[in-house]
């Protein structure tokens, strides 16, 4: 791969990774915990948009064979107007701008739902950009869309999960976050595995293709990494989450109950009146002073 092709692949990777991070963070807020994620949402949105724009420029140069800036700029209009890549990427970039506008003030919970839905659409549009679209196989396109959506919910949720677990909340809150994320993860993993199997059957050309082609070798690496991630997820589900639950039970019942309310945008807490020594920590509340501070 030459330098230009490497730059092109890198930009596409940056754009895709940032978009998956953006969609994953929003789905985390929606499905796992209404955690304030401006530190993830803002850079992800900016990187996804800028990465997409530069990808458009470089891809236009690659498609037209342009090697000067004027020729490249002239080709961009043709690519946007006359190619599926340009049509779909522009639609995605518009969606990402809207998502960024909605998610920039991440404290507004009512905006999380439309932002998450639009980000999901932006992710699914990849199925109309890549090989699945070129294959003309609608099942393959749908499969890739679900595959990427599940990947965004799971992989894109890892950074928010890490940030949430670093927050100095009590163990009950951490356990709730871990439990909710595990449920999302389980659904996502099954979706990823099922759609990967379908795509593999359609693209590898059987077992011989899996072990005898460069595409198959890359897929094998991806499968190995996927299995390693499954081990980590299993450790989270079967070891860490139960351990946190046990710690909560052992904490003399004075825990501040944290529970995510998807559209409320607040960390809800309560403190049993019989536990005056309990010192729950609430991080924020938009509707006034925290009830358990």
């Amino acid at each position: 791969m030459d330098l230009f092709a490497t730059a092109l692949a890198t930009l596409r990777a940056v754009h895709m990774t940032a978009m998956l991070s953006l969609a994953g963070a929003l789905s985390f807020r929606l499905l796992v915990a209404p955690y304030p994620l401006a530190r993830v949402l803002r850079p992800s949105a900016v990187l996804a948009i800028l990465g997409g724009l530069v990808w458009l420029v470089l891809q236009s140069a690659a498609l037209s064979g342009a090697d000067t800036i004027p020729d490249t700029l002239a080709a961009i209009g043709t690519v946007i107007r006359d190619t599926r890549f340009g049509n779909v990427l522009m639609l995605r970039l518009v969606l990402l701008v809207v998502v960024a506008a909605l998610a920039w003030r991440s404290e507004r919970p009512l905006l999380t739902v439309p932002a998450a839905l639009l980000a999901a659409v932006a992710v699914i549009l990849q199925a109309a950009l890549g090989h699945a679209a070129a294959s003309g196989n609608p099942v393959l396109e749908a499969s890739l869309g679900v595959h990427l959506l599940a990947a965004s919910a799971w992989l894109g949720g890892l950074l928010p999960l890490w940030l949430a677990l670093r927050t100095p909340l009590n163990q009950t809150a951490h356990a709730t976050v871990a439990r909710n994320f595990s449920l999302v993860g389980i659904v996502a993993v099954f979706a990823i595995a099922a759609t990967a199997f379908e795509q593999g059957a359609a693209l590898f050309g059987g077992f011989a293709g899996l072990i005898g082609t460069a595409y198959g070798h890359t897929a094998l690496i991806k499968i190995a990494l996927f299995l390693l991630l499954l081990l980590l997820a299993s450790a989270n589900r079967l070891v860490l989450t139960p351990a946190l639950e046990q710690s909560r039970i052992a904490a003399s019942g004075c825990g501040c109950l944290f529970w995510p309310r998807s559209c409320s945008g607040r960390w809800s807490c309560w403190r049993p009146p019989t536990s005056p020594h309990c010192r729950p920590v609430c991080t924020r509340s938009r509707s006034g002073p925290s009830r358990c501070s």
């Binding site: 990774t17 690659a62 890549f85 950009l129 294959s135 595959h147 890892l158 890490w162 980590l232």
Partner: protein
Amino acid sequence: MSRLSVRLGLVAGVLAASLSPAVISRAFAHAHLQSADPAAGSTVTAAPADLTCNFTEALEPKFSQLEVRDASGKRVNAGDMHLAPGNGRQMLIGLPKLVAGVYTVIWHATSVDTHKTEGRFTFTVAP
């Protein structure tokens, strides 16, 4: 426990980055010539009115090309390539009344996933 979670998160994050579909799904799939009429390497007794090339993937017409050259290297096709109506995988190009001889077909295909391929083949007209 929290530290362990954080460490697992870090490892998972690195793996997640390496698992990114954008990183993994490099351009392994391309539009390849599946069939042509006149077929590659064939000899036809009647001069064809047009040339048809079928590819394995849908094509971008603005960035795909098809041309026919005679034995001297002169371009002989009439007009430019266009895609068959309703079939994004089929390139068509009109031909004049070809005289006897060997003709070379040169194609450049860009599939809708932006991958580019190219190739050439010959056919012979021998009335």
